[in-house]
């Protein structure tokens, strides 16, 4: 995660910045190239034009000088010998650019400042002046007939006083001299100046092997590439520029311009292409270096920054891992003064809270376990309070009794009880405390205790109920109450006295007939209101009669459709169990309820009790015994 976050930042910042810099560099490079190279070329061309003009003026100067000489009286005299002497005398004073001055008569015979004589009647410049009527001529380069040097001739017509053409005054200029002049002209660091004549022949060049030997039009034969095309444009007298390759492989840029006052001469400069591009390339190198430096700095900043961001994140991660490993005392120490510190602090608070919560949870869990264990104990105690021995009385065989209680929770509010008040009176009861769980169980214990005590002390069942109610109402702030049905059955006579405190009337089967509700005087639930007067009822049970007591957990047992078992179904079930022993009756009822609810959750305690007399002892025997006791 740490690496990837840093890598992401590097990729994003570095990538975007790098791409931007590259685009910027490319745009800059191309515009610099366009501008600078163009500017350089334009500048070069301007320089070239100026230089061409300069050379032109120089040659024009030569021409004027020769013209002045031609106009001299001594020349106009036409006296060959005098002119020859005059030339020799003047030899030391001639323009140093001139090799020699010479004069020819109208037949082509010449005499020079060196004193040499000869014939130039075959020369084109001679013919141009003497035969074609030109006044001034600058000749193409040629080999001097007097010195054998490569020269060009500047010639002017000499007229006599009548204006007739009597001869030519001329000067020869060494091509070497022209080469020296052109050589001094350069562009930037390098560049070679040269002059080509109207035929495309190089006439002046730094390389002394080239003049008069290289013709641009035929340059391809000498190993040049592209120079012939330049030559064609030069021969056509156009100014311009072009690129060619030398035999040594270097690419040259040639810029050229016609020289004025010359017979179709062109001045040119060749510059190595790389030389021309030197300045923009230096500029570009600087820009690239600057950009690389910027990119490097940025990446460095991003790296440092990402480390500063990821370090605390990593610390946070380690802290979380430590907590995850169970070390809740782990504290994350991040002091960046930003959101990450806030996060770390929030995490520390969370860890502290978590610790508290876990402690509380442990406490609560322990408490819950303790309560549950208490409840299990309470359940045992409660179960222990209910009679568990069936059949209950060894010595009394003609009464049969069976009862069960199943709480919905660990401890319930339903109860039953039975005990002998004396040797022939059986007291039994069933009850249901409002509510469930511990409060109900506590109230049930109190109720059972009070009822047992009261039943032992008072002959009248009504008194028992009135007293018990008064005791349960006292300090009953929770307004809990209990429904109780209690009966006292005389086992000798079958006489049954009973009272109901708000309890469901039991079912009874009399004389083999179907079950029906036992008629009761409804009394108020116990604990409900102090001062309530309970009324007892009486009936007689015969052998075979069966009394079935129950709590509302039986009739209100619900199936998943929330339908109640109900009194009708209870009555039918009991009728179906007619004649069975009490234990079988209760088991049968239990099965009927289970069959009805089909596993739906039990919502209420279920208590049931069944009592039947199997016979009656001889009345006389019991009465007699009573008398003896009395």
């Amino acid at each position: 995660m740490q690496l990837s976050l840093r890598a992401k930042m590097l990729v994003w910042f570095g990538g975007i910045l790098g791409a931007m810099l590259v685009v910027f560099a490319l745009v800059t490079y191309s515009s610099v190239q366009e501008t600078v190279v163009g500017l350089t070329k334009d500048l070069a061309h301007e320089i070239l034009k100026a230089r061409s003009a300069e050379i032109g003026r120089l040659i024009h100067g030569y021409s004027s000088e020769v013209k002045t000489i031609a106009d001299r009286d001594v020349m106009r005299s036409g006296d060959f010998d005098v002119i020859g002497k005059n030339l020799i005398e003047r030899a030391h004073a001639i323009n140093p650019d001139f090799e020699i001055l010479f004069y020819t008569n109208n037949r082509g015979h010449f005499t020079t400042t060196m004193g040499a004589e000869g014939d130039v009647s075959d020369r084109d410049y001679f013919k141009a002046i003497m035969e074609q009527g030109q006044d001034d001529v600058i000749s193409p380069p040629l080999l001097s007939k007097s010195t054998g040097e490569r020269v060009f001739v500047v010639a002017s017509v000499v007229r006599n006083d009548k204006g007739e053409r009597v001869g030519i005054a001329a000067a020869t200029v060494l091509l070497k001299r022209l080469s020296q002049i052109t050589e001094s002209i350069s562009i930037g660091q390098g560049g070679t100046g040269w002059v080509a004549d109207g035929n495309g022949t190089i006439v002046a060049h730094r390389d002394q092997n080239l003049p008069l030997k290289l013709n641009l039009l035929r340059s391809a034969a000498s190993g040049y590439e592209g120079l012939d095309e330049i030559g064609r444009r030069i021969v056509a007298g156009q100014p311009g520029q072009g690129i060619f390759k030398r035999p040594d492989g270097t690419t040259q840029s040639a810029i050229f311009n016609p020289i004025p006052y010359t017979p179709g001469w062109t001045f040119g400069i060749s510059v190595q292409q790389s030389e021309l591009m030197k300045r923009p390339e230096v500029l570009m190198r600087q820009i690239l270096l600057l950009m690389a430096a910027m990119l490097g700095t940025m990446l460095l900043v991003v790296t440092v920054l990402s480390r500063r961001i990821t370090e605390p994140v990593r610390a946070l991660q380690e802290g979380v891992a430590s907590v995850r490993a169970g070390n809740l005392d782990s504290v994350i120490d991040v002091r960046t003064g930003d959101e990450i510190q806030a996060l770390a602090e929030a995490f520390n608070r969370m860890t502290a809270d978590l610790k508290d919560h876990i402690r509380n949870l442990q406490k609560v869990t322990a408490e819950k376990e303790r309560v549950e264990s208490d409840l299990r104990v309470a359940n045992k105690i409660q179960a222990g309070m209910l009679p568990r021995v069936f059949p209950p009385f060894f010595d009394i065989e003609h009464v049969d009794l069976y009862a069960t209680m199943e709480p919905a929770k660990e401890v319930g509010g339903d109860f039953f009880d039975f005990f002998l008040l004396d040797d022939h009176r059986l007291c039994f009861c069933i009850g249901d405390v409002s509510g469930k769980g511990v409060p109900a169980a506590l109230f049930m214990v109190i109720t059972m205790t009070i009822l047992r005590n009261q039943a032992m002390h008072h002959k009248s069942l009504e008194t028992v109920f009135n007293q018990a109610n008064a005791m349960l109402c006292a300090d009953n702030d929770e307004s809990m109450f209990v429904t109780v049905f209690m009966g006292i059955l005389d086992l000798d006579t079958g006489d049954l006295e009973y009272v109901s405190a708000g309890h469901n009337p039991p079912f009874i089967s009399v004389g083999g007939a179907g079950f029906g509700r036992l008629a009761v005087q409804p009394g108020l639930v116990m604990g409900g209101m102090a001062g309530h007067e309970y009324r007892s009822s009486r009936t007689v049970m015969r052998p075979g009669d069966l009394l079935f007591l129950y709590t509302d957990g039986v009739t209100e047992a619900m199936n998943i459709r929330l339908e109640a078992f109900g009194e009708d179904l209870a009555t039918q079930t009991l009728n179906g169990l007619m004649g069975q022993p009490v234990r079988a009756v209760i088991k049968g009822m239990r099965q009927a309820i289970d069959g009805f609810t089909q596993g739906a959750p039990v919502s209420d305690d279920v208590a049931m009790m069944a009592i039947t007399l199997t016979g009656l002892p001889a009345r006389g025997k019991r009465k007699a015994a009573d008398k003896i006791d009395a």
């Binding site: 469930k436 639930v525 309530h532």
Partner: protein, 111 residues
Amino acid sequence: MAIRTRNDRGAVVVEVSGRLDAVTAPEFETTLNASIQQGNLRHVINLDGLEYVSSAGLRGILVIAKLLRSKGGQLRFANVRGTVREVFDISGFGSILTIDESVAAALDGLA
């Protein structure tokens, strides 16, 4: 369970419908308690729409009845019918609570 209260002839008429059991009894108690705390001492509880009352529901009724009795208030029930009536009778609540045929009769009965 749904419970609605309205004022009628200087008494609070409480309409209780649905099931009054362990789940709903607290709401019943809270509503009536609040009404009594506001100083209403005359209540008529209309059980016309009540389908079922459990022992927890009876306890709630008992709590309210005792509270009103201790404050010298009056409480009458109306339209107690069917299984609810049966429960009232069996539990003896019928004998300690004042039950009228209708809300109007209950209101008439309030002194």
